[in-house]
Amino acid sequence: MDQVNVNQPLDYKKKNNLKKAPSIWRDAFHRFLKNKYAILGLVILTFMFLFSFVGPYFSPYLDAKIDVSKGNQPPSAEHWLGTDNLGRDVLLRLMLAGRISLTIGIAATLIIVLIGGMLGSIAGYYGGWLDVIIMRLADIIYAMPGLPILIMLGAIMSDLKIPPPQRIYYVMFILGFISWVGLARLIRSQILSLKEQEFMLATEVLGLRDSKKIIKHLFPNVLPTVIVSATLGVAGAILSESALSFLGLGVIPPTPSWGYMLSAANNMIDFAKRPWLWIPPGVAIMLTVVAINFIGDALRDAFDPRQKI
């Protein structure tokens, strides 16, 4: 089939080799790195991760026994953040608590992404009565007040005498099951609008199999929204977990958590006289959540530069 000389094709002056153009994800990554808030967020978050997961190995008190005689010492050379009422080093507790809070935050978000993502895409892609059921369920959960339900479930966990180490997993699932609705609705509405786009109609005309439509066309276009809301979701999950633990209904001793450390402020003397007990965990939560929000916002701009807000 001789080549048709339709009109001389585009000039080849600017010929460059056939190397693959940088993928769309690498472009987004470059835009992400150009955003100074993102860098700030990344720095803080990496610090918090190192502080929590690597820090403890540098602490001399890693296997120190509880020694009430050394309790409630203010910050000093040996104990940079002083000691708590059981004589434990507050700095070490903070690090160990960080592990728990970060793990729960991420795990809860993964659950949210799993449930919300799946139900949202099924409702959006297949529609019909499936969509109605899922959305009806979402309405119900959305109507119920979040915090009271969390508190109630926390109280039940205490009654069921669930051992502290297992409680962490229950808290993750609870947080996940309560807050998947937002993401499900977001994904559903995005899929519905994508399905109207001409390039999705084109996949129908081309006769592509459903699997190809979902994996190569819908998924890459929904992924950015999922990544952004998942990132912001981690921040939300950490805040909820620490609130629950602060009320003594989430993670409870001996498992350390920032929220529970903060509840030290409930006793008047510690609150007024020993701020080193409860201020550091508060600052830790704030730093982590601010960092995650910076990253989430920068990701949103990186993926969709047009939506500059």
Partner: protein, 321 residues
Amino acid sequence: MTQFIIRRLLQSIPTLIGASIIIFLIFAMAPGDYVTSQLQNPKMTEERAAQLRALYGLDKPLPQRYISWASGVLKGDLGDSLLFKKPVIQVINDFIWNSFILGVAIMFFEWLIASIVGIYSAVRQYSVFDTIATLLVFILYSLPSFFLGLVMLKVFAVDLKWFPLGGMITTGSNYTGWAHIVDVAKHMVLPVATLTLISVGGLSRYFRANMLEVIKQDYIRTARAKGLKERTVIFKHALRNALLPLITLFTLELPSLFAGAMITERIFNWPGIGKVVLEGIYIRDYPLFLGYTMLITVLTILANILADVLYGVADPRVRLK
């Protein structure tokens, strides 16, 4: 319009029933109940406990208990609070209005500040104000409410002693009239400041995004092409459109006026429904907690309907014939 309201009410009935079932199931999951937690005190004997349970109908099978509870709720009888030994309705009525005053004050300041900051930073985009405001909003947006509350108490109450350490009125004082109002106001400052700062971040970002979206529309360019003053273009043409989605947001926030911020009320020892219900949960006062959660769920559903109706009234395009 009425047709729309009827349809939305009918649609929300299944949601309400579904929510009530789930909430009741959660409570039913609880292993013990009030009665068992009483077993510790010596006077309580086994068969006395059985009698009590029968009295409260705790021994019947689950669906039956749900039916009796639900029918009670429909008749407005939410059962008795175990903590206060009085009908839940009364307990709620006693404390909810304290939460309401706090809620109204918070919402007022929140919307006032957020609208000013949001609109100004949208109109003056990329200005110094805008960058600082965005940064500040970001930090406030990520603060845990209880931590901010504690810090406020520590700084302003304990150290500087500008404001009382908590509660609603100075203990032991029986001011009346104006003095009482001033006293309550003084007690309100810290909790209101805390919750306003927490919520102003998200709302001002929303104001800013909305204004930016509207400002780049064609009809704003038309308004400028008419030679109108910039103030008219922004406050008459742009703002009216930017406020539309915010009506929905405002209405959806109304239930929070009644819900009361549990944690903040506890930190500031503010005698609102939030604090009371929270204390109730520690001694497993399920009827009170159940009643409270249902009330908030109903209010949320009604707020959703009201939001759609108000949006229809405000936006001529949607004005439902």
